[in-house]
Symmetry: C2
Subunit: 363 residues, 2 copies
């Protein structure tokens, strides 16, 4: 029997420009399936959460323009559990919106906040970690981030430094947040044993995060004055659309976690990756051949004299016939063919030239 006070906020409003041209303004990462599992990141996130959180307490926040896609990926999601923002304003406004909705339903709520586009494995550890953190948060004002015990000095993730030695089944106070370090610094982080990967998964009492947001991010919460009269009524969407025109764009880390005295991290041992760049996608792709080529599917391919490529086609059944390619990224979508050396800097520079006009309106 799952605890009725446990809630979850799945943040599914990302616009996912990092994997352009696979992810697009109309097909961001949470709706993609990079693996052969046949389930999108969003679907898998939802399925993962419902082991811990009662389904009627799972709230999905996305953008109005993704309404139909969320519905098709999560047909069982109740109408009132789908919150739609008019624009993506990063995580803090998204969390504020869902927190007010949850508080109106249950002032005692304890909430998990999770991105919808991360890869997670070892589900039993994940579930027990979440339940422990929820249980701890229920009896405190702690704002807890799950911190994944790092397995390598990855410079693509954010790091959290613990203020002390972790004890079994207890969070540790956070000393610092560090955005993606360079390779050398990442190595130092790992060697000290004081750093954890910032999973972007939070656990806290809804009233605790509300209080800290009102204290540290009044530019957000002030817009929500009068929320009790509006949420759950026919006025809700119009109200949200109106206040979002003034909504600042800011992350929960920046707006609250780095400022509050109550930031804690809970060390976690499940496998986790924010597949945020092509190199992490390389690791994650479903199929790897003996020459180090990674593909998103196994059928209909002929790779000859090819090594260490990432080959991705969104078209089911399309024959991928490559010869003499080494260390390239080859992406084939319905309307883009991109071929570029597998080098983050070259890719970034190349993509910036492509302009991606479809994203501009959402930035």
């Amino acid at each position: 029997m799952l605890n009725n006070h446990y809630y979850c906020i799945i943040m599914a409003g990302g616009i996912g420009s990092r994997f352009w041209p696979i992810s697009r303004a109309d097909q961001p990462k949470q709706f993609l399936d990079f693996s052969i599992q046949g389930r999108s990141f969003l679907r898998r996130t939802y399925d993962r959460m419902k082991n811990v959180i009662p389904e009627e307490n799972i709230i999905v926040v996305s953008l109005e323009r993704y309404r139909d896609q969320v519905r098709s990926h999560l047909p069982e999601l109740p109408e009132q559990n789908l919150l739609l923002e008019p624009y993506n304003r990063n995580t803090a406004p998204c969390i504020a919106y869902a927190t007010y909705v949850i508080l109106q339903r249950d002032p005692e709520a304890i909430t998990v906040v999770t991105p919808s586009d991360h890869a997670i494995a070892r589900h039993e550890i994940f579930n027990s970690t979440l339940l422990e953190a929820l249980s701890y948060a229920a009896g405190s004002d702690a704002l807890i981030t799950l911190g994944v015990v790092p397995t390598r000095p990855d410079s693509n993730f954010g790091y959290i430094q613990m203020a002390g030695k972790p004890e079994e089944r207890r969070p540790v106070k956070i000393k610092t947040f560090t955005e993606k370090p360079d390779a050398n610094l990442a190595r130092v982080f790992i060697d000290t044993g004081e750093f954890l990967w910032n999973s972007g998964i939070f656990v806290w009492r809804a009233d605790a995060i509300r209080k800290e947001m009102e204290k540290y991010a009044p530019e957000i919460t002030n817009l929500w004055v009068g929320w009790r009269d509006v949420l759950g009524t026919g006025e809700q969407q119009a109200f949200v659309d109106r206040i979002y025109t003034d909504m600042p764009r800011t992350s929960i880390d920046y707006a609250v976690m780095e400022k509050t005295d109550n930031a804690w991290v809970y060390p976690a041992e499940f496998r986790w990756a924010d597949i945020g760049n092509w190199e992490s996608l390389y690791e994650y792709l479903a199929y790897h051949d003996a020459d180090g080529n990674a593909l998103n599917r196994t059928s209909r391919r002929l790779l000859k004299d090819c090594s260490d490529n990432i080959v991705y086609s969104t078209k089911e059944g399309k024959l991928l016939a490559l010869r003499g390619m080494e260390d390239f990224i080859v992406i084939d979508t319905d309307d883009v063919l991109m071929i570029c050396p597998r080098d983050e800097q070259k890719l970034k520079d190349f993509l910036s030239q492509l302009a991606m006009p479809e994203y501009e309106e959402y930035r």
Copy 2:
């Protein structure tokens, strides 16, 4: 006023496996448009011929399976001018069929035979050359091939050696036919001044080619015994389907032109190419950028650090974004992405591994 005795046979039954995966069993070269003209090779061949031949006298021979495609490319073609073979048996059977159809309509016919998938430019010279050759053929039994004055030692074309010096506006007797020579031999051919490119375009009186086919290719013409009673009746297609089960596979060059004493060549100065391999396609593609990349269209592309590639996408409007590619062939079709070094041998070897099962039944 065009001469009512002038007829044309457009041979449009090729299966075009050489440009796989652009050309396919269901989309051979004659139906493609490699240029930006918006007209297929077949359409352009037809339009070219109707400057010289009355439209009602233009006969198209294709395969039954291409019926709908021919109709869509040539909607004005009268039903009785579309002849459909059940299988492709090379040029000699195709020409025999159309010649009997023409002879039944007009025993005095003088006929141009032309492939449907060649590239031709300088249309005024083409038209005047054809008219001169038709006029000459009308008064003789000569079997005339148009021989294009070569502009380079191309080893991808067949050559015809003239038996003597050409005179103005007269054909020359043919001394030898040579299939694709190697590069050195092609150079020798050019230096002698005695060789012309074999255009595959023929001009002759219908009764003259009939007589020579009956003499040198009775294995074909014997199957046509009784043709006068069948052609133009409801029995025609069933008759053709029946006799083609025994029809030998042979070219008109091999079956007749290399054997007859009446083989002539008419030197021609129009621009001509049988785009029979990727290198000739490279020359012919619509767009060439300053770095030597050839593309089939000019819009929606970003090529960076790319040189001397052939880039071809069948998808209108698809963005082609390539970086760091040199001397590659990149072909994107609906169901195949092929990337291979621009090297005929590597390509040939690679394509043979791809098996192309769709062609096997037609070979």
